[in-house]
């Protein structure tokens, strides 16, 4: 995946480059808002990682101008400001995701990959069936089955599994799950999300030979056939 990192802090930019490169991505950097915007326009990237505070042109304005000119590459905002207001502001300007500094490297990689990779089934595309391996979900009858075995899920478990299935093959973090499945934007201090995942795992994996729901150490979870 080709990622453009627009970040003025040299050391921080190097750090981001390193973790993204280690995750197997092709990373380019820009040091300020104007050259970042120019690079984003003239070359095809899969994801833009944009710091909010940039010399020459603030990140917010950069993304806005990029979007106004028809740029479609998904953008992830990085910011030391993590207020809900700032997040909303960033998303309004045209960013697709928002990550507050400091962040765990795995969180950044997971979010970049979710943004950039062709999602198995995008969140907003209406489908009636999702399928990962022998796990099947019927969104109309709200039925889940693995092979021939029917699986009964609570409404929230259903939503959680739907999100995981739409992002099959991608690592999703706990914070992402709290944001996307519960719609809350704070850092869960306890293991509440893990407990929900283990419930779900008990239902979809326990009786079966091949587990689908993997824990990615230090990062989150991945549903994979």
């Amino acid at each position: 995946m080709r990622v453009l990192v627009i970040e003025d802090d040299r050391e921080h930019a190097d750090f981001i480059c390193r973790i993204l490169t280690e995750a197997g991505h092709d990373v380019e950097t820009a040091q300020d808002g104007i050259s970042g915007l120019v690079r984003a326009r003239e070359s095809a990237f899969d994801v833009l990682v944009v710091d909010r505070m940039l010399p020459e042109k603030p990140g917010l304005q950069l993304v806005k101008e990029y979007r106004d000119a028809g740029g479609a590459t998904p953008a992830l905002f990085l910011s030391a400001l993590s207020d809900v207001d700032n997040r909303v502001e960033g998303l309004k300007a045209g960013a697709d995701d928002y990550l507050a500094k400091p962040f765990a490297p795995e969180e950044l990689v997971a979010r970049v990959e979710v943004l950039g990779r062709r999602q198995a089934v995008p969140d907003d595309v209406p489908v009636t069936r999702l399928k990962v391996g022998d796990l099947e979900m019927d969104l109309l009858s709200r039925r889940v089955a693995r092979g021939e075995t029917r699986i009964d899920l609570q409404p929230r478990e259903f939503k959680l599994l739907e999100f995981l299935m739409r992002h099959a093959g991608q690592t999703v973090t706990r914070t992402m799950l709290l944001e996307k499945v519960w719609n809350y934007h704070f850092d869960p201090q306890t293991n509440v999300i893990d407990v929900h995942i283990s419930r779900l795992r008990a239902k979809i994996d326990k009786e079966f030979e091949r587990p689908l729901l993997q824990t990615v150490r230090g990062a989150g979870y991945c549903l994979q056939a």
């Binding site: 809900v84 929230r156 509440v192 407990v195």
Partner: protein, 468 residues
């Protein structure tokens, strides 16, 4: 602002007073002029009408009865004491037949065969020393036998009243203007003094003294309203400043010890010869330490943000739904900790507030309950409407509770009771909940779950007004 005895001249109030005084004077003068013209004009017209009608009456007397009849009519009129008219009837030789005046006041040598209008003045006698000379409007005619009849009407008499009014007003006007200026001066001085007070407050605040407050008089005027708002603003500023200062101090204080620990560990690692595995282990340890520092730092930051937040972003939200969702979020974690989780959530609760902050606060409360309640215990999570148009979100656990003497203390930042030190946490959880409560103009209340019996568990109530 310049000071000195004439500083008030520069004030807006005084300038306004001045403008109004001038406008008032101009208006009064205009009104009086108009009134005078209108009254005098009307009176003149009326006098002339009466004069002409009187003259016609006498002419009729002459026509029907000749000089004798006219003379008699005039004599009859002379018997009326108070009258407006002056008569003079003389023969062709200038001998007075009937006359109010000692002699004909006008030149009668010209052609008087037609009625002529004349104006003349006579000496004195108009009364009350008002004027020594009276102006008389008259009609004069030479009659068929050559005699001359003059009928006049005094104009001055009729204008006297108008003149008096005018003179009174003219005399009073300077006093009025003086009074207006004095009033302007005093109100300007009052306004200037109040404004000066506010200016001094502003200067003191700029100088860094946020404890200054504007005086409020009992009158409740616009200055008082301004002062009240200003004082409220200063109180808020002072609070924010002190929050910021405390946050700064807290950050300095609470990050110093973990950072020193970290430094010591690194220092020690540098001095020891170690193989790669050992070194890696030390690094892993270091990253964990840094993560802890960062998470403390984040907690401090979010606490400061809550303290500095305003209710501008509040929305009306379905509290029942939010609390239901939090219950649903935490129920599995409770079960995993082998705790019984019960929720008693009233339907249809709604308040104005910040959804994310409330969720964070409630999550902190539930988090604490899960952490500090031993396995086998029970957590009751509820929300309901209470008195005074408020709602309460409560979390009751069957843990060890908090001793009465520590209950106020645990809400402070970084206070962790001894039994909590071994568990993960920043010591900022309850401080954040309380900050969220205060932001919503509510409160955070810690009591024993069962009366004041010791070790009966803790009851935490987050009480929030329905509308802020």
């Amino acid at each position: 602002m310049k000071s000195g005895p004439f500083a008030f001249i520069q004030t807006t109030t005084f300038r306004l007073a001045l403008v109004y005084t001038v406008l008032f004077a101009l208006f009064s003068a205009g009104l009086l002029t108009f009134l005078f013209q209108a009254t005098v004009g009307a009176m003149r017209t009326e006098a002339k009408t009466r004069l002409e009608s009187e003259f016609r009456t006498l002419a009729v007397a002459w026509n029907t009865g000749g000089p004798g009849r006219l003379e008699q009519s005039l004599l009859e009129r002379a018997l009326v004491r108070v009258r407006d008219f002056t008569y003079q009837f003389e023969t062709v030789d200038g001998v007075i037949i009937v006359g109010d005046l000692p002699r004909m006041p006008i030149d009668t040598s010209g052609d008087l065969s037609e009625v002529r209008s004349v104006t003349f003045q006579v000496e004195g006698g108009v009364g009350e020393g008002d004027a020594d000379v009276a102006t008389i409007e008259g009609r004069v005619l030479r009659l068929g036998d050559g005699s001359v009849l003059l009928v006049g009407i005094k104009m001055d008499e009729r204008l006297r009243l108008v003149r008096r009014v005018t003179r009174a007003v003219a005399t009073a006007a300077p006093f009025g203007i003086l009074l207006a200026l004095l009033g302007g001066y005093f109100s300007a001085r009052y306004a200037a003094r109040r404004a000066e007070g506010l200016t001094r407050i502003a200067e003191a605040v700029m100088g860094g003294d946020l404890t200054q407050r504007a005086d409020i008089s009992a009158s409740g005027d616009e200055f008082d309203r301004l002062s009240e708002r200003l004082n409220a603003m200063l109180a808020r500023l002072e609070q924010l400043m002190s929050t910021t200062r405390h946050a700064g101090e807290a950050i300095a204080h609470d990050l110093r010890s973990p950072l020193s620990r970290l430094r010591n560990r690194l220092e020690a690692a540098l001095r020891t010869d170690m193989d790669e595995a050992k070194a890696r282990e030390a690094l892993v340890q270091t990253v964990e330490d840094v993560d802890r520092v960062l998470s403390t730092f984040n907690a401090i930051l979010s606490l400061s943000r809550v303290n500095a937040a305003s209710s501008n972003t509040f929305e009306t939200l379905d509290l029942t739904e939010l609390v239901d969702e939090m219950a649903e979020l935490f129920a599995p974690a409770c079960e995993d900790a082998r705790l019984t989780f019960r929720s008693e959530i009233a339907a249809g609760l709604s308040i104005r507030g910040d959804r994310t902050l409330l969720a964070q606060a409630i999550s902190n409360l539930l988090d604490n309950a899960v952490k500090y309640t031993p396995a086998g215990g029970e957590i009751v999570f509820g929300a309901r409407a209470v008195a005074d148009n408020r709602v309460e979100v409560c979390v009751r656990d069957s843990g060890a509770g908090i001793p009465v003497e520590d209950r106020a203390r645990v809400k402070e930042r970084f206070v962790r009771l001894d039994q909590a030190r071994t568990l993960a946490g920043s010591g900022l959880g309850l401080a954040l909940v309380e900050a969220v409560a205060i932001l919503h103009k509510g409160s955070l209340d810690l009591t024993s779950a069962d009366g004041d019996a010791p070790n009966s568990g803790l009851l935490v109530r987050l009480i929030l007004p329905v509308s802020v």
